[in-house]
């Protein structure tokens, strides 16, 4: 029984019952990182950094941990995982974030 859950191999069907970890355990989480939920978006949030007051509310409320908080409390969107829900847009007290069409 292998120790690692190899996501790519599982997706390709490249496994046997012997190569999979026992009892559907995932031994090396978080493997969810391999699934880029950014593909779900139809619109994307864009931050106007000049308006941002670093209140961090967008960072607090993002359900997908896709607002990244930097050292100096500025924020940026992680477009790999952002689902485009728009909660950050609503949360921003100075309307520094707007939704744009995903091209």
């Amino acid at each position: 029984m292998s120790a690692k859950t190899d996501v790519k191999k599982v997706l390709k069907g490249d496994f046997t019952y012997k190569s999979l970890p026992m009892a559907a355990m995932i031994i090396n989480p978080p493997t969810s990182l391999e699934y880029k939920t950014g593909v779900w978006r139809i619109k994307k949030p864009v931050i106007d950094q000049s308006k941002c007051i670093k209140c961090l509310l967008c960072w607090v409320y993002c359900p997908d941990m896709s607002v990244i908080r930097k050292e100096d409390d500025s924020v940026e969107i992680d477009y790999e995982y952002c689902k485009g829900c728009g909660i950050c847009v609503n949360a921003c007290p100075v309307k520094a974030i707007s939704m744009e069409e995903e091209v």
């Binding site: 859950t5 190899d6 996501v7 599982v10 997706l11 559907a24 995932i26 989480p29 978080p30 493997t31 969810s32 990182l33 391999e34 699934y35 880029k36 939920t37 779900w40 209140c55 961090l56 509310l57 607090v60 409320y61 993002c62 359900p63 997908d64 941990m65 896709s66 908080r69 409390d73 992680d78 790999e80 995982y81 689902k83 485009g84 829900c85 728009g86 909660i87 847009v89 609503n90 949360a91």
Partner: protein, 313 residues
């Protein structure tokens, strides 16, 4: 009173124990609740989670969004599974020096209010040192929005539809904190994802208390409550501001409201954006709306009186 864990949003740790790539809906209130709860951890922690939205969306093999030990067994037994983990770790710590871990159950209203109530009751009565967080989206969302004991009066679900003869759920929502407090546990509280500092502080406070603790957090659901994904936090805030979901804690039987709502917004402001309540705003269902408003106001007054009287619950 000791210093709270957090004073402002900026004090929240940057560390994420809940990983990106999970498959909760865009805008999911429960995802926010989990992320915020995991900001309060104080050491090694185990999560126990029953079947539900959170479980299927975060642990679909081979994907897991959990950066800490996580156990799922079945739907109605999360409190029991957690009891076993707690006692095993405690005895193994004593016998063989195994590191102590905090044990947190994160369960939906589905796995708590109805089918999971027995296991919760047993665990609370036995006094295990665990925290039980119920994320409440007010219906069995994972199986397609069926009514639960947490569905409020009047709400439309797929098994309490807004029909011509029976317009939505005819029964009131159970009071989970009252049930928890009836077990005489040291701490129980409600919380809101729209009040993150209060919520995270409560989780941390609970973890630092020995014994069984319950936190009940309202988590708006995009497909279940039927509103655009960007509104989850705003709805959670309106739930508090209309007194629909009061935010309070009961510590050793003493009740304290932690988010005061002296000038409540009209309940319609909370109901109107949700299509699950659309039928309630029609004139023929005015009596149900009135009943719901009456329940909300009575509940608030009850909490005020309990707080004022200082009675030990």
């Amino acid at each position: 009173m000791s210093e709270p864990y957090l004073r402002t949003v900026k004090d929240i740790t940057i560390e994420e124990r809940f990983a990106q790539g999970h498959r909760m809906c865009a805008g999911c209130g429960a995802a926010i609740a989990v992320k915020l709860a995991l900001k309060a951890l104080r050491g090694p922690t185990v999560i126990v989670n029953p079947t539900g939205c959170l479980e299927v969306s975060t642990t679909c093999y081979p994907y897991s969004a959990w950066r800490l030990p996580y156990i799922h067994v079945a739907f109605e037994n999360s409190a029991a599974v957690a009891s076993g983990v707690v006692e095993a770790i405690r005895i193994l710590n004593k016998k063989r020096g195994k590191k102590l871990h905090d044990v947190i159950v994160i369960a939906g209203d589905g796995g708590t209010f109805d089918i999971g109530l027995q296991a919760l009751s047993g665990a609370l009565e036995r006094g295990h040192n665990m925290l039980y967080i119920c994320y409440d989206n007010e219906a069995y969302m994972n199986t397609g929005i069926q009514r639960s004991g947490a569905t409020p009066l009047g709400a439309a679900t797929t098994t309490s539809p807004a029909g011509k003869v029976i317009p939505g759920k005819q029964e009131r929502k159970k009071d989970l904190i009252a049930i928890a407090v009836a077990h005489r546990i040291p701490y129980a509280a409600t919380a809101s994802i729209a009040h993150p500092v209060d919520y995270i502080n409560k989780v941390r406070k609970a973890l630092e208390i020995e014994g069984p603790k319950v936190i009940h957090v309202l988590t708006p659901c995009v497909p279940g409550w039927r509103y655009p994904p960007s509104e989850s936090v705003r709805l959670a805030r309106l739930a508090v501001e209309t007194r629909y979901f009061p935010i309070y804690e009961v510590e050793n039987g003493k009740l304290r409201i932690t988010i005061r709502v002296d000038k409540p917004k009209p309940l319609e402001e909370f109901l109107r954006p949700q299509r699950r309540f659309a039928h309630l705003l029609r004139p023929e269902n005015a009596h149900i709306l009135e009943a719901l408003k009456k329940n909300v106001e009575e509940n608030w007054q009850r909490l005020i009186k309990l707080e004022e009287s200082g009675v030990t619950l």
